[in-house]
Symmetry: D2
Subunit: 458 residues, 4 copies
């Protein structure tokens, strides 16, 4: 018997392999699918089925990729009127036998209209695990605003029914396997309990502590930010994304080739330069116009700041860009056309100019507070973070809103950029700098650092 959970780092996306005998089913695979094939083969099994709990909006599904590589059947919800470009429809009550195991489909709408959960029965027929997709997470529930604001109450009510009338009745002992863990964009408050159960959620999930459907709709129904890339993801996942075969291997570019591509792009923005180094190195020196998203933040932020219709060039700490390419492919960014061979060192040795973004320690900030100049403080943390720990005098624009709200930032004034640490602050500063702002300072350690020191009185 095979049961395995695979985590896609950064996306906090969980996919699952379940198998018995020689047949394996994969639930909600990611796009780089070789891992599923290898695990199945190692166990002497083959991937015979791919199951989707719902049409995803936050990553490119690997269903078609995995089917193309293995001949597996793709099963997707038929409980929806949307037209999928691939797969076979499955309805509530559908049962899939895998050796001595059984997977039963349970229609659990709310997050999407067609959303399916799957209940796994163990070899003794005991209901053992429920795969809840984006219906129920550890400590949170799925968002219900994808049908639009006007249908928010309806969708939230559907989710209430799915949770309280279908999933929770399975029994407290049943293990809950959702599609996301803590850190996902799909649940604002997913808990750090990396494994959970219906009993733990019933008792401790804040969203489930309600007396009736009305209270649930009141508390849970909420419109969240809708990332620009969600639309692209939904479209790709509906049509079935292009089959990659293997991950692309973008070529190294010499500094002259790299610079040539920037110029050839015509208007500066034609090529997207993505610098995946950490914030300190980026602040020191980077290719003019580069956006900073550290490699391990790509799953969270690449979708917000990059566009699918322009090529991407990479700058990284080493020549190994496979991790970045993998993260980008999961979000459908397939047009990575090269990377700067030798990194910034090669760039500088070839005599090309770079830009920098200033930084200041919290101690340094203390020193400057006396100065006559009044700085403009930009806080790029999320609303929730700002509410729980506000920064006096700061202007709050959540990092993911910055592209749309940039006009609120003054162009002729020194801007201190703050976040919880300094990682998102540097990302935000890179967006501002690319848009022409040139008087930017990132506060190292951010609010956390600032809270740890006391500015000395004179």
């Amino acid at each position: 018997m095979l049961f395995e959970r695979l985590e896609s780092a950064g996306l906090a996306h969980y996919s699952y392999l379940i198998g018995d005998g020689t047949q394996v089913a994969v639930i909600d695979p990611r796009r780089d699918v070789e891992v599923y094939i290898e695990r199945a083969a190692k166990a002497g099994m083959r991937v015979g089925y791919v199951l989707e709990t719902h049409r995803n909006e936050d990553y490119v599904t690997g269903s078609r990729e995995l089917a193309a590589a293995t001949g597996a059947a793709v099963l997707r919800s038929g409980e929806d009127d949307l037209r999928y470009g691939y797969g076979e429809p499955v309805y509530d009550g559908y049962t899939l036998n895998l050796g001595r195991l059984q997977l039963r489909a349970m229609h659990t709408p709310g997050h999407t209209l067609g959303h399916m959960s799957y209940v796994l029965h163990d070899p003794d027929g005991v209901p053992w695990i429920v795969f809840t997709g984006d219906a129920l997470f550890s400590g949170d529930v799925g968002r219900t605003d994808f049908l639009g604001k006007e249908r928010l109450d309806e969708a939230t009510g559907l989710l209430f029914d799915s949770l309280f009338n279908k999933i929770l009745p399975l029994g407290d002992g049943v293990i809950v396997c959702p599609a996301h863990g803590s850190g996902s964009v799909c649940g604002s408050a997913i808990a750090e309990r990396t494994w959970t159960t219906i009993g733990l959620e019933r008792a401790h999930n804040p969203k489930l502590q309600v007396t009736d459907k009305d209270e649930f709709v009141e508390r849970v129904g909420r419109v969240f930010a809708y990332a620009p890339y969600f639309e692209m993801m939904e479209r790709l996942n509906l049509e079935g994304p292009p089959v990659l075969g293997t991950l692309p291997s973008p070529p190294p570019l010499t500094p002259h080739e790299f610079a040539g591509r920037l110029e050839a792009g015509g208007p500066a923005e034609e090529v997207q330069v993505l610098d995946t180094r950490t914030e300190l190195g980026f602040g020191s020196a980077h290719v003019p116009g580069a956006i900073n998203i550290a490699e391990d933040r790509l799953p969270s932020f690449a979708g917000w700041f990059l566009t699918h219709d322009k090529p991407i060039l990479l700058v990284s700490e080493t020549n190994d860009v496979r991790g970045a390419v993998r993260h980008l492919a999961r979000l459908g960014f397939d047009r990575v056309e090269g990377y700067l061979a030798g990194g910034m060192l090669a760039w500088h040795m070839a005599g090309f100019a770079s830009e920098r973004i200033g930084t200041v320690t919290v101690q340094g900030l203390c020193d400057r507070l006396d100065s006559a100049e009044e700085p403009w403080i930009l806080d790029v943390r999320s609303e929730g973070e700002v509410e729980s720990e506000p920064i006096p005098l700061a202007h709050n624009i959540h990092l993911t809103d910055l592209p749309a709200r940039m006009a609120e930032v003054p162009e002729d004034q020194l801007v201190y950029v703050f976040c919880g640490s300094d990682v998102r602050a540097m990302m935000g500063a890179s967006l501002l700098q690319r848009a022409g702002y040139d008087d930017l300072v990132v506060v190292l350690g951010g609010l956390r650092g600032w809270s740890s020191v006391t500015c000395p009185l004179d």
Copy 2:
């Protein structure tokens, strides 16, 4: 936060890493401990604590090894009057803080008198996971016969109290993390639910379906086989086993060196020749006197058939004996003094004689049934297997009892050896052959194969 389960294949032994901040605790580590150090380091943490749920009898604990490598503190039960040679005693109610996590010791005697369970509270303070050691498994409970037959009822009663008054009251939603999974010698009936919860066990664990303590004592209290190596394991684990540093790397021996070691050993049994190939290759040809235990069966059977006080020489399919050495070290067999370089091919090319053990397919067996000779059928399956599927006319001696009960097998008659497949049958035949039996035939496919065919009527 770090929570990870590691499985020692074959032993079906589970150990766990739990960590937060920079501190990791390891529960019930195995002896080859590098994996714990690597996982902790990869997460930017250090192993600060080693916890034992109980004094193990089925493998060599890695506590001292891990403490020697990392400086970690070893915490072991103080709820017992036994004198440990290492570690710090811990009592019921003891609380260990790991960053935002808490581990609370809960005395759960029954399997041993000092047995501890540990309840993990998540960052929100919710009781999340209980590490139950050998008290509660998926589908089974720990054996209670280690205090001896005369104290069986007392120990079983203690286990009832531990289970029904301490562990089950934690709540159905709590996840159960035992020290063993399906396939262990520590639970006769561990289920294949690789992850389980209190709710699932309360409802579906056959041993827990009782009305009161008396019924539990009646049904669960039972004396199981006591492997000869258990005593050695217990002694080692009490004193603290020798620290290895790294796994030994036994030298290759040429056929002449290998043969020389056999002779130098004086009486034939002085050196133990262990052949880790699968049963078909072994049956074809093996070094005279060799015992056959395939590499993946070493965790289950090496302890029964090998002795700790004589050196071991290995014969394997390839020159890579690291897997075998690892399995043996986990059981305290550190005296592996070499392996046959080039395997049986080199042995034969050097002109040394080998022995064989005959095999017969079930079809072949059909053909022979008519023959005048009356074979003696030896069934080496366990009592439980025999009860559920008996073989007519067969003599049952469970494989692990064979060394002690060998005199029951006739020396002057053809013996057909049966098991469920043919793996244990070949092991048993190798034990018999070493003891001088020479008219042995292993039935390929065993009972399973036999049940699949019908002998043609003449």
Copy 3:
């Protein structure tokens, strides 16, 4: 700078990566090309060029595969009148610049008419390494019989000119990098000097110890066995073999599915059952009709005994058949349609019949020599081996000739099969058994074992 030699185990095929700056050239790549892409990427380089020294006949070239994956240009000899289906022609004197390195093409016909060698000049311009393809090996030279017997002298003369007038004059200090090492089918006598130089070859290569062209033609011109798969390899390599993308991952088959495929195949030979276990396990029990070629012998023998136009089913020691699939793909065998999940154990447990091939130790053979029955001794070693160490009374048919010369083996007599050890003997016995022979015994240890013992006199 990058210079690396990669060995394809078993084939004894060498390929090379050479690079400087960001450009890498690969010489004579094999078909599973991911390793070249990875090595180049790790060095911050891209594969820009693929060079072929000659049209290969003993493996499927990876040129098209590598070009498809990387966009590299394929350079192949233009010094021939053959029509290639891909690549750009290159002529004697052509120079390729790779950063500070230079590769110069040198036309060295003989093995084929278009054969190219490439001379690598180091960053200081010093002639450093010559890639000699199948012209010059360590201790041997390429065979010259591919143009046919009637043009043997002509081709051998061409090779003499290439060696003595072009390659050797490069100077004794120049390093020689051929396309094959010891163990290849392409040179009957390749030495074990895994690295060599012009000086070492000039002084010690037996084929170069001649006084003039006539002596060379006399001694070197010889017609070797022409494997049936050579023709397929040549055709594929001329047209450009199909692009695989990734290695195929054949599905596991249950014993019933496996047996079903055998029957569905109609006539027994429609499906080729290939058993990659070592000889002892195979001898004990195998699927009826299976051919035995141990995994590490596939590169040497698969081409002789398998056919490209029928599907292959695998039986192996474990469920991991990736090694076998890789070896087969290198020889163009892409139709691996599955493997027996669980191996022979599963086969027997499902009640299917197996066959065996008897074995005897050399000691056992001694015992039988007295018996009345006169055995027929089949020696499957090569002519060269037989010449240097004959077996009295044995009939010699080289293993690779056995399919064609099988009629010489008597069907109604006990046949002892001999080779140097017993590996090729078991392969030969499996071929005979498949063809209907049923009285076969493989001598364990073969001639080497036989030579180590003395039969006791009565």
Copy 4:
């Protein structure tokens, strides 16, 4: 047969495995020896012998470590009057048989008095490879100044004899396997020909293009910098360095623990903070007092700037410090007592202050040239580099001399630090900053960048 070269990255140190049958000899092993054991085991062999060509001064030899792990015999030169603390002496003409291979010791003094080369004869008895230690490199010869300036001519003369009367006469075709490749501190001019031969060296090694011994002594005899750590290495290698067992695994330290260790050290220099990030991140922000040596530069520079008698704390880009620990262990730095968990981000979030070192692009430098202030330009390149490409007005202090010659740098003036790129410049700046200099600017791209641009005329 086994012949393999292993390169220790950064040190440009080569070690070799040679084996046949079951016996392997390792020549000049490094201290982290697990790789030798693994390679031998994989080939079914054991490490039976460890050979040293000479007492090394640039790294800690792994001879004792390897002997402790495998029981191998250590063979070291007896042709010297020095007292070794371990090993068995070997004299000119000594022959070691390894299966069909032979290794013959050849006394080749010059670099040291006892220096040995080893000539490997192939299975056919042909002299095939000469292991030349530090006598002969690709494009260079060993330095001869270790006996002191007064014995320089004598030692150089000895080397001449060793080269011209012993090594070169082996013949042009023999392959040369030295102890170092390009990039080593042991040869100032080692060529990039990664494999070489006597013929190539005789014809193209600049040091060998002499007419007689006098000319050789004149041209080659030269006193080079003597690194402070050489003495420690020599002492360790003479006594036999401490046996590690496995590489140390230093613990993660929280920012508060890390800061506590700095203060507990008393005088600031008591603990050495080593920051292994690349130069841009280090320049942005680092722990006060930290020295910057990027991980891949540790082999070249750690010995010059760190001391063996004080503990080391690490700061790195990730939590994975195994690479750094490995490099440091090879140089005998075993006292790595921890690393900053979470790196500079954690440091800043905990509110600790950091320091920075300014940088300027070459474009920025152009802009500043007009300014009134006269900068002091420090060029930390080597003499050789300065000679071939001088920087006008710059003051040259080779980086490795900087600790001793720091007083030459003015404390009250802006200092621009230059090297070929900017890596060594940042290292130098970190040394200066630690010593109290605070007006430092590193020129990005260094001389290479500067040469690529032209400052615009006003």
